[in-house]
């Protein structure tokens, strides 16, 4: 049996220390106190996903940046490539909340949207 990954379960406050092992081509989870731990661990090893939140530049707003998020969790491997793309973007105030900054990123069917509205800076 070989240890692939150690992780902490976040499904409930117990925070079990899980071990994902490979045994003759099968994944085996150790350390979980309930079934939900197995499901969590398998998702985390097969296709871990996260909502990504960051900011993009905005022209003429009350602040120079505006917060954005992915509309759904994206595979972890796409996090840094997405940040690269977003670093090149600049939008202009006024902007409503849930404005699509990027559509269908990496053909995942997921957008990047603003998480606040921002009005123009008054001179």
């Amino acid at each position: 049996m070989t240890l692939l990954k150690k992780l902490t379960c976040i499904i409930c406050p117990l925070g079990c220390n899980l071990e994902i092992n490979e045994d003759k081509g099968e994944l085996k989870i150790l350390g979980n106190k309930c079934e939900r731990g197995i499901k969590y661990a398998l998702e985390e090893i097969k296709n871990p996903k996260r909502i990504v939140t960051t900011t993009v530049r905005i022209k003429g707003g009350i602040y120079p940046v505006i917060p954005v998020k992915t509309s759904l969790p994206i595979p972890k491997d796409y996090i840094f490539p997405l940040l690269e793309k977003l670093s090149e973007i600049e939008i202009s105030a006024p902007i409503p909340i849930e404005y699509k900054v990027l559509e269908n990123i990496f053909n995942l069917g997921i957008d990047v949207v603003t998480t606040r509205s921002m009005h123009k800076k008054e001179d």
Binding site: T8, G15, I51, T55, Y63, V65, K69, I79, T115
Partner: protein
């Protein structure tokens, strides 16, 4: 200038917004006083997700959570909002002195809701030996710089304290391209929520040094690095084992302090456990007509709790003005065992509300605990907890009938 109104809410963050929303449903005149340029308070810089799971049953970012409440509050005609206005004085007779670009105001309300939130413990509070170079920030200041002002505070970052803001900033700075060399925690257990330990540190392989602290700061103009050392079981650093960690930025995430200077001017008694006012189930302080909610009352781990408290404070401020709340007698809530604090700290009779929500924090992490509610020596109710942690509040809604026929109430957290 003189301003008369029914309820003044000091602070336009989540606590103030929720209390305005609930008080505003009755046709009273409400005034929110906010010192910042916009409503929403600290939520506006908390751009990460994880807000609203209890209140809205969905996961929102801080600004989204704020914007939902702001929209609701702005719809209510009898709520007046003064931004960029600072309350300077608050008197025991509820008179306030505030200042804004129109001048100095004397405000006379019938009830006051304290919703000033909290601030971060700073470098000065810690007294770490060494030099005083640039590059030392509280985690929340760094959060505002990155998420709102668009600045990166440094390139190689060490974080002292494993509170949630520190953990969240570890991830945020990593995403912005900085190197995060580690998080140092003096206690033997982390300060933040497990979810944040996993998704902010483990996801990015950022090391967590438990039972360690920063013992010396190095650098003349800009921070060049810090010495960290392990601590013994009494929390004293073992200096002989210190080692140098190179970094240009040190972030402090070492605790939050409820901002009660105004409460103190108004001679409102403060609990030295919560650092917020003593309150009853109405969230009314010991001084009649003053209510408190959110992080000025106690530091909460979820904004949803802040909103729930705001709703109660708003509703009860209205009841107070209408003469529904009598407070004929009161009894203290005693706590025992592993419990460190409780809110509310006392119950006023008649209780009036159908249920009372209690907030607790424990002193130490423990497995298999039971929480007993006792009347005198008799156990009335028991709750079981497979695990309790200081970082995670315990919240219980209890039917008020339990408290009707008793004059001695104790909550006790014990090991099974």
């Amino acid at each position: 200038m003189l301003k008369e109104t029914d309820i003044v809410i000091i602070g336009g963050g989540p606590g103030g917004l929720a209390s305005a929303f609930s008080a505003g449903r009755e046709k009273l005149r409400i005034l929110i006083i906010e010192r910042g340029e916009e409503l929403g308070g600290i939520l506006q810089q908390c751009i990460h997700p994880g807000f609203g799971l209890l209140y809205f049953k969905e996961e929102l970012t801080g600004p989204e959570y704020a914007e939902r409440w702001i929209k609701e509050v702005e719809k209510i005609n009898n709520i007046e909002i003064w931004k960029k206005t600072m309350v300077l004085e608050l008197y025991p007779d509820k008179k306030l002195i505030a200042v804004n670009d129109k001048g100095l105001w004397e405000i006379r309300p019938k009830a006051v809701i304290l919703a000033m939130g909290c601030r971060e413990r700073t470098h000065g509070n810690l007294a770490i030996p060494g030099t005083r170079p640039a590059g030392i920030f509280t985690a929340g200041t760094a959060q505002r710089l990155v998420n709102m002002e668009g600045y990166l505070p440094g390139e190689k970052i060490l974080i002292l304290g494993s509170g949630d803001i520190g953990l969240i900033m570890a991830r945020r700075l990593k995403l912005e391209g900085a190197e995060v060399v580690g998080v140092v925690e003096k206690l033997s257990f982390p300060g933040g929520l497990t979810r944040n330990l996993v998704q902010c540190l483990e996801d990015f392989n950022i090391p967590l040094f438990l039972s360690h602290t920063v013992v010396e700061i190095k650098g003349r103009e800009r921070l060049e690095g810090v010495y960290i050392a392990p601590v013994d079981s009494y929390g004293n650093p073992i200096i002989s084992n210190k080692r140098f960690i190179q970094c240009d930025t040190l972030l402090l995430s070492v605790g939050l302090i409820p901002e009660n200077e105004l409460s103190e001017i108004a001679e409102i008694p403060i609990d030295n456990k919560t650092l917020g006012p003593f309150v009853d189930q109405f969230l009314m302080t010991e001084r009649e007509g003053f209510f408190a909610c959110g992080n000025v009352l106690l530091v909460n781990d979820l904004v949803d709790y802040v909103s729930f408290q705001g709703l109660i404070a708003g509703e009860c401020a209205v009841k107070y003005i209408k003469g529904v709340i009598k407070r004929e007698r009161k009894i203290p809530i005693n706590i025992n065992g592993n419990l460190r604090l409780v809110v509310p700290q006392f119950i006023s009779y008649p209780i009036i509300l159908p249920e009372i929500t209690f907030y607790f924090r424990v002193s130490e992490p423990k497995y298999n605990s039971v929480l007993h509610l006792k009347s005198g020596n008799k156990i009335i109710k028991t709750w079981k907890y497979p695990i309790v942690k200081p970082a995670e509040m315990i919240v219980l809604k209890i039917n008020s009938s339990v408290f009707e026929e008793t004059d001695n109430i104790t909550f006790s957290m014990e090991e099974k």
